[in-house]
Amino acid sequence: MAELARNEGNVVQQEEKATSLWKEGWIRFRKNKMALIGSGIVLFFILLAIFAPFIAPYDMNDQQLSMRLQAPSKDHIFGTDDFGRDIFSRVVYGARISLWVGFFSVLGSVVIGSLLGIIAGYYGRWVDAVISRVFDIMLAFPSILLAIGIVAVLGPSLKNALIAIAVINIPNFGRLIRSRVLSIKQEEYITAAKAIGMSDARILFHHILPNSMAPIIVQGTLAIATAIIEAAALGFLGLGAQPPNPEWGKMLADSKAYLTQAPWTMIFPGLAIMLTVLGFNLMGDGLRDALDPRMKS
């Protein structure tokens, strides 16, 4: 009876704390103009991606070789590329690819990174040593080089590029979580949980993980921006999306020969990459200011 009451109390207290953290965060976030602009941009591209078939005026892969390299006009507001494809339609569909790669690669690295980070941080000793050294080894490589290496092994495709990007970001999240776990582990409520004989799994997933959520979200948002750039870089090198997929980086690579004659072939995909990345960065910065306890003034 007594134990039950104590448990209930614990839950209630936790919920209160959580609500106040998120609520407080939202208030701070709302006040941050830059963060709102960033979220606006991100939302814009998400809508673009969702409603692409309704927004794009042409089939993204429809080639009209006689209409190649047309300057922007009323028919083709972003102009046409060297195959006579409508660049606007391709940029719109490209949002799907870039966001898809961005979200899912980061989701992958968050899940695996967090798991490894928690295990390393909580159990310590040789488990920690092994996992941390593996992270160190991975971080020793320039990330894009590691990604190229992974794609070279798996073979060039969008899916493999996504996997590669997910893998190279694992250590970032792993380290972040590990450090959070190390500090949370010392908290009194964890000691208390241990004292009442709570299982490791419950402590990890009901107490430590929820308390590490804020930095994961911040880091995750910023990582999406990096992931989009990395996907574009791999696409540019021919290691990501394969033709005729309208991936932005690939569009840049395909058009680079026409930089002087038909600059619109590069400007619009380039702008799209820049804007989405800017959007995620602004939003991520805003979230950090709002949520990250270390930044609290």
């Binding site: 429809d62 080639q63 190649r68 195959f83 006579g84 394969q242 033709p243 020969a257």
Partner: protein
């Protein structure tokens, strides 16, 4: 927060400013150099890919031949602008009335780069070496001389040294293009001593009698040749050094030329033609067209084994649109494997018209009403017959998609690409051919006869009727009769459709305005003996 933004922007500006300043500066020094330089003696030749090997007998790719042409000499050579025969290492020759015995008088006093003598024994040694090989070791020998020593089709019965400077070839059957074949780059005479010394490594240490001596090879980067001071042609070569550099990207290569890093570039993007023509510091060279760019349809692979499928794919390609888009009009649509400039070209043949309905109908007849999936291989490097294989592949991919054929574009590094295609691992693949001796035999027999499977017949297409015609054409010396046979051969090939012939292009090169004596040869391999700076 604000401060951070300001800092970011400032950094950005700084980087941009530095980059821009860098551009301006390098252009200035480039311009200055050309003005103050007196008369350069080093020529840097920029091309799209690296050589596969420098023992010409072991390779079949143009990038290797371009270099070996300058390290080695052949018994006979071609005229500057065409493929008429002229003396080289052999000064004169006689042919017996039955067309079976060729006797060559060799040039005297010629030495290999390693100091050993060039003589009749060296010629015999080289031919013995090739005849004792096989399609893996000396692929080109087999396709030009009907196989190897113990093969029934082998043309050469024996090669004898009559004396120090006379060599005699005895043939089993007459071969009309025999002299033209001897003049081909792969049949260059190499130093027997060097071959014995280096063995398998001879391709990395080539020793010939040519105008330039091999110096250094950094893979995928550069091959350096130096003047052969003892060259038999008095007063030649004019250059002290000849460097071949590989710059895969056509635009990057043009930039290198404009910045003065290279002196001649191959494979100018047709779309950049106007830019070079409008600049008085540079000149454009047009190589006479003797090539074909094609899509090979490997007949041993899945649906492509069906003739109707191959014909359907032929119907699905709009060649003129591809030429307008990716050759800037510097090409003509191909309907035959032979370029029109070669005797024996069959102009009466009707090409498969661009007709998607007909293509779908043929696919349905073949049992693929909903199409199928296949790989479409695209070469990774620009070729004279195809400045941008990736783009052409993408255009083809869209065309094929319209008849339900889903093509996945695949590419490999160039040497691997050729190797895998030769092994028949590709479904459909882009490739092309530049004639090496100006004879129909060098296209039809070399590329499409069943004897050439494993060497240059990459589609594994084999037709006995065609084989008999091509062999007969080799033995007939009457020009008209030969041409008739080749015309018939082209009809058979058209019907069986192992290829989609795409284009015959006019390859474009660009170079500095002060280059003199450079006449691009239709074979695609140039000898730099007479080239110099004005």
């Amino acid at each position: 927060m604000k401060k951070k933004w300001l800092l970011t922007m400032l950094t950005f500006l700084l980087v941009a400013a530095t980059a821009l300043a860098g551009c301006g500066k390098s252009e200035q020094t480039g311009g200055g150099k050309t003005e103050e330089a007196e008369k350069p003696t080093t020529l840097v030749y920029g091309r799209g890919g690296d050589s596969v090997g420098l023992d010409p007998a072991t390779v079949t790719d143009g990038e290797s031949f371009k270099v070996t042409k300058n390290i080695f000499d052949t018994l006979l050579d071609y005229n500057d602008g065409d493929t008429t025969i002229q003396p080289a290492l052999a000064e004169e020759w006689t042919i017996s009335d039955d067309g079976l015995t060729y006797t060559f008088k060799l040039r005297e006093g010629v030495k290999f780069h390693d100091g050993t003598d060039f003589n009749a024994e060296a010629v015999v040694f080289n031919f013995e070496r090739w005849a004792n090989g096989n399609a893996d070791t000396f692929p080109y020998y087999g396709s030009m001389f009907g196989g190897y020593k113990n093969d029934e089709g082998h043309v050469i019965k024996e090669v004898k040294a009559l004396d120090e400077h006379t060599v005699q070839f005895v043939l089993k059957r007459p071969q009309a293009p025999f002299l033209k074949n001897l003049a081909m780059v792969p049949f260059a005479i190499a130093s027997p001593e060097a071959i014995k010394k280096y063995g398998d490594k001879f391709g990395e240490n080539p020793v010939g009698t040519g105008p330039f001596v091999f110096k250094e090879w950094k893979r995928n980067e550069r091959i350096v040749l130096e003047k052969n001071k003892e060259y038999w042609l008095e007063g030649h070569p004019k250059l002290d050094k000849l460097i071949f550099v590989s710059i895969p990207d056509n635009s990057a290569r043009l930039n290198a030329l404009l910045k003065g890093e290279i002196d001649i570039m191959e494979d100018l993007n047709p779309s950049d033609l106007a830019q070079v023509e409008g600049n008085k510091d540079f000149q454009v060279f047009k190589r006479p067209s003797m090539n074909v760019g094609y899509v090979g349809l490997t007949v041993t692979r899945g649906p492509l084994g069906n003739k109707l499928v191959r014909q359907a794919l032929n119907h699905a390609v709009d060649k003129q649109a591809i030429i307008d888009a990716f050759y800037a009009g510097q090409a003509q649509p191909a309907k035959n494997p032979l370029p029109p400039s070669i005797p024996g070209y069959n102009d009466a043949i009707q090409d498969y018209p661009y007709d998607l309905e007909k293509a779908k109908q043929l696919l349905a007849e073949a049992g693929y009403p909903n199409g199928f999936e296949m790989e479409l291989w695209a070469m990774p490097v620009p070729r004279p017959y195809m400045p941008d294989g990736q783009k052409v592949a993408e255009a083809l991919q869209a065309s094929f998609a319209k008849i339900g054929v889903k093509a996945k574009i695949v590419t490999y590094e160039w040497a691997t690409y050729l190797d895998k295609v030769a092994k028949g691992e590709a479904d459909a693949f882009l490739l092309g051919w530049t004639g090496d001796n100006g004879d129909a035999d060098n296209f039809l027999y070399a590329l499409l006869d069943k004897d050439s499977i494993g060497s240059n017949n990459y589609t594994y297409y084999a037709n006995d009727e065609l084989h008999n015609i091509l062999i007969e054409a080799q033995t007939v010396s009457d020009e008209n009769k030969r041409n008739e046979l080749y015309k018939k051969a082209q009809e058979i090939i058209k019907e069986d459709a192992p290829w989609i012939p795409l284009v015959h292009s006019t390859p474009l090169l660009a170079g500095k305005a002060n280059i003199d004596g450079f006449n691009p040869h239709p074979t695609g391999t140039d000898k730099f003996t007479k080239v110099q700076f004005k």
